[in-house]
Symmetry: C2
Subunit: 415 residues, 2 copies
């Protein structure tokens, strides 16, 4: 089994100015190809450090993928340093020069010596023309070692990985094991409780591995199946997903690329129902999330952002005396928000959110994080009271997500 290593170059990574997301993207792809990635290093644009990092990598790894340092400036030292590490000359590649001239003629009209530097690569390299920018990528095979160099610009790098690196690796190293993974998405339950619920099952598995990741939006359970061939891996994965789906029950809302708002959209479309929202503390967030789904106009009518009591009274027609008696953040106001917005916005279902997102606005009785969520369908109105934790953003996000989940459970319940 080959050992892979990623080297990201760029002083801006070491200064904390950018996060190295390139390494993460490549790591994910290598994992899917069944290639073991053992090291990721980030190193500044310093010839000495890069050289020692490259030499170390050549001593311990079979496949070295570099990103960055292919530009036209003084800082861009990847190719010259690779050449030094392997005792190779830098030579001018006509294909790279031609591409460079073509690209630059479109944008700046002329080529100078600093641009021309990008046409020089280590001797023996296979130049990979980069249609998305000026910096050519490179594949260099020497003494059982492989170096694959990619530009640092994320979208150029991604394109070249998809179009060149992955096909190359698939052919060069037909995977010995196939890894398939699936993510199950859970909401309405904390990480510890998810853990508790599935721990016994997880501990009994041998050909599978698992990961549990907590996000502000949900808990994700990743299943990784490993098998000698695609079919067996798929089967293992399916069995495990089926069993976990059973265990997680209603808490499971989707898998892989599915989103909570997408799942709800599908339910609403299949039932032919329309919804509307009345939002106070979330200020539009719930509507924003619902309308992330292309085609959501089919079921989302719109809503009222009732951030002030004036809007609650005049657009939602909530009697001022109710607001006065119970307060804007209260069960009766939440109830009326859902009921009124349902009618005012010509919908089958109305959803209301009112709460204290903080940091201000709390009273002795009502703490920051107190949120009422409501759902009215014309027959019944349900209201949930939550005491949410986190900062202003998290409270608003959690309130919106819980409102969506309330809607999902409601829609899954009714025939």
């Amino acid at each position: 089994m080959i050992k892979a290593e990623i080297i990201s170059t760029g002083s801006e990574i070491l200064r904390g100015q950018i996060i190295d997301t390139n390494a993460n993207f490549i790591a994910k792809k290598l994992f899917e190809l069944g290639i073991d990635l053992e090291h990721i290093s980030a190193v500044s644009d310093d010839p000495e450090y890069l050289l020692s990092t490259l030499k170390l990598a050549l001593s311990r790894s079979d496949l070295i993928i570099t990103t960055g340092g292919l530009g036209p400036t003084e800082d861009d030292i990847t190719y010259i340093t690779i050449a030094k590490a392997l005792n190779l000359k830098l030579i001018k590649y006509p294909a790279a020069e031609e591409h460079l001239r073509k690209i630059l003629s479109k944008t700046r009209g002329e080529i100078n010596s600093s641009n021309l530097k990008q046409a020089y690569l280590p001797e023996g390299a296979k130049v990979i023309i980069n249609p998305y920018g000026t910096a050519p990528a490179m594949l260099l095979e020497k003494d059982d070692k492989i170096i694959y160099s990619l530009p640092g610009v994320p979208w150029e790098m991604k394109k070249l990985v998809e179009e060149n690196l992955i096909p190359y690796l698939k052919e060069k190293f037909p995977p010995a094991v196939i890894r398939k993974s699936k993510i199950l998405k859970v909401t309405g339950l904390g990480e510890a409780s998810v853990n508790e619920l599935i721990r016994d099952y997880l501990n009994k598995q041998t050909n599978l591995s698992f990961g549990i990741y907590a996000n502000p939006e949900d808990i994700q359970v990743q299943i990784i199946a490993q098998a000698p061939n695609e079919k067996e891996a798929e089967e293992l994965l399916k069995q495990s997903a089926d069993r976990l789906t059973e265990i997680l029950g209603n808490y499971l809302y989707g898998s892989d690329e599915q989103t909570l708002e997408g799942v709800i959209g599908d339910l609403l479309k299949s039932k032919g129902l329309k919804i509307a929202v009345a939002e106070s503390c979330t200020g539009g967030m719930l509507g924003e999330i619902i309308t992330r789904v292309p085609g959501s106009s089919e079921y989302f009518q719109g809503g009222i952002i009732s951030y002030s009591s004036l809007i609650k009274e005049n657009l939602l027609n909530i009697p001022p005396e109710i607001i006065k008696e119970y307060g804007e953040v209260s069960e009766p106001v939440a109830r009326l928000m859902a009921e009124k917005v349902r009618v005012r916005c010509y919908s089958d279902i109305g959803i209301g959110i009112t709460g204290i997102a903080g940091p201000g606005g709390a009273t002795a009785q009502k703490k920051v994080g107190l949120v009422y969520l409501s759902l009215a369908d014309g027959k019944d109105t349900m209201v949930q009271k939550h005491q949410l934790f986190g900062d202003r953003h998290l409270i608003r996000l959690r309130a919106s997500r819980r409102a969506l989940n309330m809607l999902r459970l409601k829609l899954q319940q009714c025939p």
Copy 2:
């Protein structure tokens, strides 16, 4: 000058399941302290690889900061491996054990041998009790080398960095050079144009360095001043910021932690004005952004999410014949959205957004990305037409940001 190095442990980083944001956070802090960070490595939870990475780090760096691998499970091998790398014993620290028992008694009530593992650290370590979790951090000084180990849970790590690592480093290594940095935030201009505008100035500077970063929200220009003392660094930074502020003019909306919505909030408060929004394609996003600011209820009344024409007609009172004649995405509809929502929501200023966020909904005349933004103040109504690029999310985000910027410019104009 000391050389620092970060080692992040965790197989999930190498599999591409999580992005190593911890290293970025620490890198930023070291940069501010004037400490040179030369290497960042990520390594899997494999004793052999971690050991060789640690040995290498000890051979080339003075300060080694590790994150992760401090938990109670089999995979958590940081302390045992550090002990091995330095030929030290692992010993039980009573303070760590006591803290562990205290935390676990609150949550699970009992302690088992796997928990107890977390009380064992290398001999000679200074235990740093972690009030935010079970895993104790550690400072180990030996033979002119310093190892500082932090937990991998981001928010625990961040707290411990702020409260322990930074004060320790400040005292141990009083900075030889002071680095001060400031970020200027620009909107309404692309990266290339910002570059063009400030290039001549940047090229003339010697004691300053610069970075330009393009985000979906804005362009950020970072100024880094380096000087022997705080005062000189501050002065350099101020001079440069003043000059760039002059050059960037109206495109500059704020600096450092300022946000566009925060700047607008301050303007509205100082002028005593109230606003409301009518949103179609953004579905609530503009309201959500405006209400990110604590205390925004002082100037944000609320609004209407007019995602369907029914809402435009009945809640915004836009005549159906206008929608029929010009379409929902049109100059006249945008104009009326701002004007009507201003009145309906008892505001001084109304803002409207209508557009085609895609991927569906385009016609031969109206492409995806066509957006009308409007602003009505009771005297005039302005409407801007934009053809925005990007996917659905980016189009919505850019439409919201441009609407905010239109509001900012309007507010800065009027006395």
